[in-house]
């Protein structure tokens, strides 16, 4: 790796500062140089590990208690990681114990449910769920939304929120979930928003805010988008593909 004469370097390496993408990698012949090749293998190894590490909800629950929010820990019907990967249908359903746990909590009229699901990256939830909720919860309190305990669900897919929202007859459902890890972003969180979620909702009825991580969408940007979606859906009484996210972006000027 020390003989640079064997590599054609690209003269536009300074463009790397504008994107996390693997640009200006150079070439040996017309192929990837050794270093770029090994860097890829390193990133792949880290992403593989992010998928297989189990979530620990304990510290998240503690942080939320300090925000005066109660939590409950629930399980999907996928009993282990292997089953979770092969049977997404089970990851969308609450197990029996989960319903018993929910019934143990006093039922009262509810406006919104918040669900935290491990999804495909436990590390995304570990890093981003609490900081995002620290920003979101004050806004929900300002609106005086009634909210049951925050549900922390293990081995769960996005649609797990439908069962929970239906259980509470909640109007609004927000699911924070670990997205499938990328090479450059093993810790990316997504937020799925559904108006009047119930079992059998299709993906067309949801809105998604994705790529929330340190190099991606910031917590504040995600919050702006989610608040827009909540307000618009309250007006229109639906969510999904017909509810366009037209919250303004801070566009950068470009000239290339």
């Amino acid at each position: 790796m020390s003989n640079d004469l064997l590599i054609y370097e690209d003269d536009w390496q300074h463009l790397r500062q504008f994107t996390p993408a693997r640009i200006a990698l150079g070439r040996s012949g017309m192929s990837l140089p050794t270093r770029a090749c090994l860097e890829f293998s390193l990133a792949h190894a880290m992403a593989r590990d992010a998928v297989t590490t189990p979530i620990n909800f304990e510290p998240i629950a503690q942080s939320l208690v300090s925000l005066d929010e109660k939590t409950v820990v629930l399980h999907s019907q996928a009993e282990n990681q292997n089953m979770y990967l092969k049977r997404p249908d089970l990851g969308r359903l609450l197990n029996e114990q989960a319903y018993i746990t929910l019934q143990d909590n006093p039922l009262s009229p509810v406006d919104i449910v918040i669900v935290i699901a491990d999804g495909l990256s436990s590390s995304a939830i570990k890093h981003h769920a609490v900081p995002f909720l620290q920003l979101l919860i004050p806004h929900l309190r300002e609106k005086e939304y009634a909210m049951p305990p925050i549900c922390l669900v293990k081995h769960a897919r996005v649609a797990i929120g439908d069962s929970i929202a239906q259980f509470y007859s909640a109007r609004l459902c927000v699911v924070l979930i670990g997205e499938r890890p990328g090479l450059s972003s093993p810790n990316s969180m997504g937020i799925y928003f559904t108006y009047k979620a119930k079992k059998g909702c299709t993906d067309a009825e949801r809105n998604c805010i994705s790529n929330i991580h340190l190099q991606g969408l910031s917590y504040n940007e995600a919050l702006t988008k989610l608040r827009y979606l909540i307000d618009e859906s309250e007006k229109l009484q639906f969510s999904g593909v017909n509810l366009k996210d037209e919250s303004t972006n801070n566009q950068l000027n470009y000239d290339v």
């Binding site: 054609y8 690209d10 003269d11 536009w12 300074h14 463009l15 790397r16 504008f18 994107t19 996390p20 993408a21 693997r22 640009i23 990698l25 070439r27 012949g29 017309m30 192929s31 990837l32 890829f40 293998s41 990133a43 792949h44 992010a50 998928v51 990967l85 092969k86 997404p88 249908d89 499938r180 890890p181 990328g182 090479l183 450059s184 972003s185 990316s188 059998g200 299709t202 993906d203 067309a204 998604c208 805010i209 994705s210 790529n211 991580h213 969408l217 940007e221 999904g240 593909v241 017909n242 366009k244 996210d245 037209e246 303004t248 972006n249 566009q251 950068l252 470009y254 000239d255 290339v256």
Partner: protein, 466 residues
Amino acid sequence: MYKIQLAHIIYHFKSLRELMAKASPPRSGDYLAGVAADSHLERVAAQWALADVPLKRFLTEALVPYEQDEVTRLIMDSHDSIAFMPISHLTVGDFRNWLLSEQATTETLTTISQGLTPEMVAAVSKIMRIQDLILVAKKCRVITRFRGTIGLENRLSTRLQPNHPTDNPIGIAASTLDGLLYGCGDAVIGINPASDNLDATLSLLHLLSDVIERYDIPTQSCVLAHVTTTLKAIEKKAPVDLVFQSIAGTQKANESFGINLDILNEAHIAAQSLNRGTVGNNCMYFETGQGSALSANANEGLDQQTCETRAYAVARKFNPLLVNTVVGFIGPEYLYDGKQIIRAGLEDHFCGKLLGLPMGCDICYTNHAEADQDDMDMLLTQFAVAGGTFIMGVPGSDDVMLNYQSTSFHDALYLRQVLNLKPSPEFAIWLENQQIFNSNNQLSLQKGIPALFKPAIKTLGQLSHE
């Protein structure tokens, strides 16, 4: 009822739908759906029984009822019985033999294309080995045009995919320049936007259109937003070259994507009326992938490969410039490992080509699948040998927005070296004129940045000092 005796056991299959599913080579999605064969022997029994089914049978036994599914209606109503004539007497097993024979030339395959239904093509693929899928697909030729000519013999096009996690225009511009300087982008420069936001879509459309105009590149742009977002962009007079949409093989699955044939038709008419192509007006870009219908709980009891092939009926109604099977994106619950991904990619290419579609393949995998770069190299090489129309070009194989691994600019250059596949003729001339490629279809060995791009790279460089 379909019946066969094999190894002293009698197997019954109660419908063509069940027979097709049980005959499918194994993949996790069919087990997930509960439609896969229970044993190796049952699978082979189903393949034997399927081989005896006359092709004509597919015109009378719909796999999803005609009354309840508009994709079935499209397939049945648009079947061309005259084109079907030369093969109408064959069984599925005969059809395999015919496809491999010298009777199946590029010309005859083109002639019968409209006489084939997706189900006939899916059926024969289930009794074909990988070398059969490659051999027959290579005989098919599907040529489409917008600002360049895609699909000519010994050509391989690339989609430049300069995605950015927050749609940052400078970040996207940086990846686009990188790709162009590596000779990528003649199929389309196509961005997956991070969120389906009309303003962001508009700004990305203008960014790409500016790049294509400024450098006079014989290619087309696409922002892969939902078709209804693109329709709004057209209303706002945005420079829309290609309309994108993900499509699937059942009405229910398409509904879960928020689309139907009428919406696609509306978008097709709107895009055509813009008349932005210079050498042709194929203006649709579709993406598909095995498992998408099941993931929407809308597979209607079909196996995922048959379902996928039915999506091609939707695609061919609109004469697309490009159809892309995004083969490993969906995850291990549908295609578990490298072996399943490789076969699926080659099946999709074969089925699409036989039905007359310009098939590309997003040769890809996610980090929760049992696959790695070696698996992708195998599919990449086999896909190119099969005459695949286009592949993706993602910087360093790492899509930093969609979080999966696809093929890189370097991967396309590998194929250009080992198989001497050239980009579309218009783009090849442009690359040579810009001294990006030399006359041997290889990157120019000249040091430094080609003159045309110096100002842009300098401007971006100055931004970095602000």
